[in-house]
Assembly symmetry: C2
Homo-oligomer: 223 residues x 2
Amino acid sequence: MPDRRARKPHYSIDVVLLTPVRGQLAVLLCRSPEGRDKWSLPWEGPRPGEALDVTAARITKGILGEDAVWREQVGAFGDGKRHPADTDLSVGFAGLIPMGTPSPVGGVYAWFPLADVPQLAPRQRQVLDSAILMIRGRMDQSPVAFRLLPQTFTLTELQQMYELLLAKRLHKASFRRALQGAWLVEPTDEWRSEGRGRPAQLYRYSPRKRRPAQRGIRLDLLS
Amino acid sequence: MPDRRARKPHYSIDVVLLTPVRGQLAVLLCRSPEGRDKWSLPWEGPRPGEALDVTAARITKGILGEDAVWREQVGAFGDGKRHPADTDLSVGFAGLIPMGTPSPVGGVYAWFPLADVPQLAPRQRQVLDSAILMIRGRMDQSPVAFRLLPQTFTLTELQQMYELLLAKRLHKASFRRALQGAWLVEPTDEWRSEGRGRPAQLYRYSPRKRRPAQRGIRLDLLS
DNA sequence: TGACAATAGTTACGACTGGTGACTAATTCG
DNA sequence: CGAATTAGTCACCAGTCGTAACTATTGTCA
C-alpha cells in the first residue's frame, strides 16, 4: 500500500486483480483509511527507474505474496476524475490470480464479486470497467482462462471458466470441438469423480504449434 | 510543439498520426531542434485539468489545423527507455488523418512511410509499433478504414485501404460478400471512370443496425 | 439388485461461412 | 471491330458452428 507520509506522487499505478470465487469473478479491494466502508483498488506511486509492470508486480506480491499469473496494461486514465492518490494520472493494470490462492488476512483486503463492488473513486471505477472489457477481448487471443485453473482440470471446469470470463453460456460440443482444433490441452491418465455421475478426465494445459490459421476478414463485429 | 522554456513536465502525450500516402501508410514526424536529421513523434506535456485525449487533439490541431477523424489511446510507456521529453512516463495516442489532408508546410513536419521511418528515441519507437499493432487489431471491431477515405469511394478503393491497413491481400469476392453482410455501405447513383476499364460505382459509408451477430468462441487465434 | 438420476463425453446433421476461380459487364485503345 | 483493362457477380466446395440426440459411467434409493 502507498506510503502516505511520502510526498504526493506524479502518477499512480492501480491494479485490478481478479480471481474466481464461488462461481463468480471477484476483484481485490483494499479498505481506505478514511472510512470503514470506503474501498479502493490497490495502488502505489512509482519508484524511480522502475518499469510500470514491475510496479504492478510489486504491488501484487506485497499483498498476496505471489505475482499474478497473467498481467496486461489497461491504459492511462487522466481526465479530472477523482482518485485516492490525488494525482493527475493513473496507469491501470489487470492481473489474474489462480483460484485457490490464499486470501490476505487482516481485514484490510477483501475479494468482491463483480456484481457487489462498492462505490469507488470515479477514476478507479473507470479502470475496473476497462480492465473487465479488456480481458473479455483478450479471451480469444490469449489463453487466459487456463491461468485461473489449477495445473490439471476437467473440461467442464475449463468451460465454466470461459463462461465466467465471457459472461455467457457455451455449448458443450462446440466448446470441445474448438478446443480440439486449437491443440491447447492434453489429457492426463487421471480421472476425478465428483459426487454423482460419470467421472471426468483431467487435462493439462499444453499448447502445441499449429498452422497459422489465417482466416479472412470479419466485418461482422463492426458497428 | 513543446515549449522548451517551460519546466520539465511529469509526463508527455505522444501522438502517432497516420495517413495513406501513395499507397503506403505514413506517420507524421517532427524535426528535433537538436539535430537536422533527428526526428520524433509530436509530443507535449499536459496542461492542468486537461483530459488526455483533449491534449492529443490539441497537438493534432496545432500541427494540421484539423483533428484526427479517429483516435484511440495506445497505452502508457514508462520503462526507462529514453524519450525527448526526458520524462518517466509517456502516454501514446494513435490518430487517423484522411487522405488528401493538406500537409503542414515549413519543413518541420514530414510524413514518413512506415518502411522508411528514421531512428527514433527508443520509447517513441515502442509507441509507434504499439500503435500500428493496435490499429490492425481494431480493424474488425471499428470502421477505421472508412475514416481514411473521402465521403464517397469505390469498393476497390475501400478494399485497397483495408489491404494497406492490414498489410495483406484480400480476395475481391470475399471482401464484397463480407461488406454486404455487414451493411456498412450504401451505393450512390454516381459512377467514376478511371482511365481504362469499366467505371466503378461510388459508395458512401452508412452503417445500419444489424443482428447482434453472436458467434461462438474462436480458439483459433490462441498462441 | 435394479431402475433412475446425474454428469461426462461423442456423434451426426444441417445451416452457414469463407476461399477461390471463372464468369459477365462496361469501358478505352489501336 | 477486337484486345486489353477494370468492375462486379456467381457458383462450387471445404470447413466451421449450433444443436440435438446419443452413449458411457457413476451414485442414489427403493
